[in-house]
């Protein structure tokens, strides 16, 4: 067991867990933040994506020790004060179907817009092709990202 401290959704947070535990399970089981989803556990599907120091990070393959002294944002924290431009765009475009992959989609898009507020179609394709959606919400995700980017991102 190790004591690990990070800033989670704006709050300093300390957990006492095995330092190899993937961040995903620390968020979901230790801290009870269940928006971040388990899809594959292997870094393939992107459902578990969170922002770690602003980078899209697959929490299922990120040992919690790598989060030490980092800033973590999950979907619960993204629009806590006021909905993020992406969340508004997601509602406007009615993106989700079952909704299970959507936390990973939104967090990946948030990392994209943070680094590149006006992404080209190709840049959107490249970034978002790493996040799977079994329900097929891809065309709407694309529209929503463009809508959010036009509104100036955030």
């Amino acid at each position: 067991m190790a004591s690990i401290t990070f800033v989670l959704n704006g709050k300093r947070t300390t957990v006492d867990v095995d330092s190899d535990t993937p961040l995903l399970w620390v968020l979901r089981d230790t801290l009870g933040l269940t928006a971040t989803k388990y899809g594959c556990g292997e870094g393939i599907c992107g459902s578990c994506t969170v922002l770690m120091d602003g980078e899209a990070t697959r929490s299922c393959v990120t040992p919690v020790q790598l989060a030490e002294e980092k800033t973590i944002v999950t979907l619960e924290g993204l629009g806590a004060e006021r909905l993020h431009a992406l969340q508004e765009a997601w509602i406007e475009e009615e993106v989700p179907q079952c909704g299970y992959c959507q936390p990973g989609q939104i967090m990946t898009a948030a990392a994209l817009l943070q680094a590149n507020p006006k992404p080209s179609d190709k840049e959107i394709d490249e970034m978002m092709s790493s996040v799977l959606c079994r329900c097929g919400t891809y065309p709407r995700i694309k529209r929503a990202i463009k809508r959010a980017a036009q509104g100036g991102g955030q």
Binding site: M1, D18, T21, P22, W25, R28, D29, T30, G32, T34, A35, K37, Y38, G39, C40, G41, E42, I44, C45, S47, T74, L75, E76, L78, G79, L83, Q87, W90, I91, E94, V95, P96, Q97, C98, G99, Y100, C101, Q102, P103, I106, D125, E126, M128, S129, S130, V131, L132, C133, R134, C135, G136, T137, Y138, P139, R140, I141, K142
Partner: protein, 697 residues
Amino acid sequence: MTSSNTIDRREFIKVASAAGTGLVLAFYLPATADAAVDTSGGTFEPNVWLRIGTDNRVTITLSRSEMGQGIMTSMAMIVADELDADWKNVSVEQAIAHPKKYGSMSTGGSWSIRGHWDIWRKAGATARMMLLSAAAAQWKVEPSTCKTEPNVVLHSTGKKLSYGELASAAAALPVPTDVVLKDPSAFRYIGKRMKRLDTPAKVKGTAIFGIDIRRPGMLFASVEQSAVFGGKAVSHDATQALAIPGVVRVLPTAKGIAVVATSTWAAFQGREALKITWDEGQWATQSSESIWATFAELSKEPGTSGDKAGDALAALPAAAKTVEAIYRAPLLAHATMEPMNCTADVRTDGTCELWVPSQSPQAAQTEAARVLGVDVERVKVNTTLLGGGFGRRLAADYVTDAVQLSKELGKPVQVVWTREDDMQHDLYRPMTYNVFRGGLDAAGELIAWHHRIVGPNSRGLVTGGSKPPYAIPNYLVDYHLKEVGVPIGAWRAVGPTQNGWVVESFVDEMAHAAKKDPYEFRRALLANSPRLKRALEFAADKAKWGSKLPKGVGRGIAAVESFGSSVAEVAEVSVEDGKLRIHRIVVAVDCGPVVNPDTIEAQVESALVMTLTGMIKDEITIERGRVKQSNFDDHRLLTFEEMPKVEVYTIPSTEPVGGIGEPALPPAAPAICNAIFAASGIRIRTLPLGPDTLRKR
């Protein structure tokens, strides 16, 4: 759109609110013939609840599962429209499972809207009439001088009262025995792009799926099942698993060996450390190739006759031209993004509560009662949001262990399947081997059709949707069903998904053999199927069938009627360097009245993604009695950049209400395969496409 506007004798509506608490209407309206409830004993088991609070809120109980198809919103739209409710005051509550009162609570067969269109409308209209009557009584005026606007009753003099103000008075009135349903031209919500009620929570991260359930003191479990179907654990060594911090117990269950722990991760880790000796059982040498060989062998023998007309076997040898082809439809996984899971809390008083992302909460309830040996009434089932269903969650095989473990541990237990468990212990879409023979007369008319299907042991799953919709004087569908030790189940669009592909592909082959245009060839044969014919024509028109295409681009068409709707699709594709490029897909849908056009478009987009995944990505294959694929690296899904352009058109229609969750799947694969043929001359008879399938031989 036949809606009787009277409440018949099998229907019951009662006021169920206590005095002064608003209006709660409890309806029993038979959903289907099979939902007949015995009310003779005086018990009244409502299947629709509608509550209008003194705070002006409208709350509707939903007895179907929300799995992304938008039923929560569509149902509310239908009730709210007839009620003349203000949309921003409407919310939906998920029904707790009941063995009888809702009839079948299964969410499948694209049934939710088509099975409840009338009931939900009557529920809303009845409440509206009672509120209006309450206002008229209060004002001492004729009800005919009153009307409703969203959440208010208005009098011609300008007086008005809100539904909230009227709810308690309405509850004291007799329930009307006949109500007038709106003329469709008066619909406020039905037919409009209404915002989905479940979207905000899904976007903010507050939506609760089964896997997100957290109960005080709960434990997490992961179960190692036999990789080979039908295998059993003979013995296990738990020493190393128990040494993992957080692992609480290791014990055998109905499905295999369970590791119970204080976190999901500890349970997964414990599983890795288990040592199990298996008896692999009778299927340990089975492979996809051996199954295909068995099916091919069987296909040589006459099968059990299914749909038929005339005498196909006699007409074939007499035909001027015959065509033969063999089609192989692959095993497919559901691969919902949320893996199977169930949370159970079995209490010492013998009651049990489940939280389960299920398409059939009653199946979950029955299974839990069976495991515990108690009456179903002792099992309370909470249906959570589903992270995808596609038919997989109609079964309750993921409930069994959670119930047993909670009972043994005396605590709430959540069983979570790993992605690998989910991929390797699915109930797959059956693989089928299809032998076709078609005959043309000298004029190129299709006069004979024989389709022999060989598949696993479930008639409905294997032969559903195989009856050709065309006017063929002599046709025969016969089949062999063979147990092959691979669990199968309903996969989105079920029989019509594989049979739609093979039938619509082979019709295309016959059109080309007759040297006729594939669209005109079908059209001429659809005289007796006017609805499907109209969809075909609509799609062809929107796609400008027959117009010139750039060099190398081919067009394909297909039309299938399933789940009460007719759908036709036209694909434009090219094949470059052995690679498929889809330029455009045009989809024409006749699902009768349109509830939410946005949801229809979403369901069609979804159908295309699901179909393409099954066409150009990975199938499920069997090796040494087990599934070879295990995760999204060897069972890939269609990705963002592979999504083609899809144009969706709903056909203005006065046909009966149809489904939309499934019917866009069956025509998708054949439209694309027929376009591949038009573009490249390569006829696709085996899916998925292999890496070299589209290279010119």
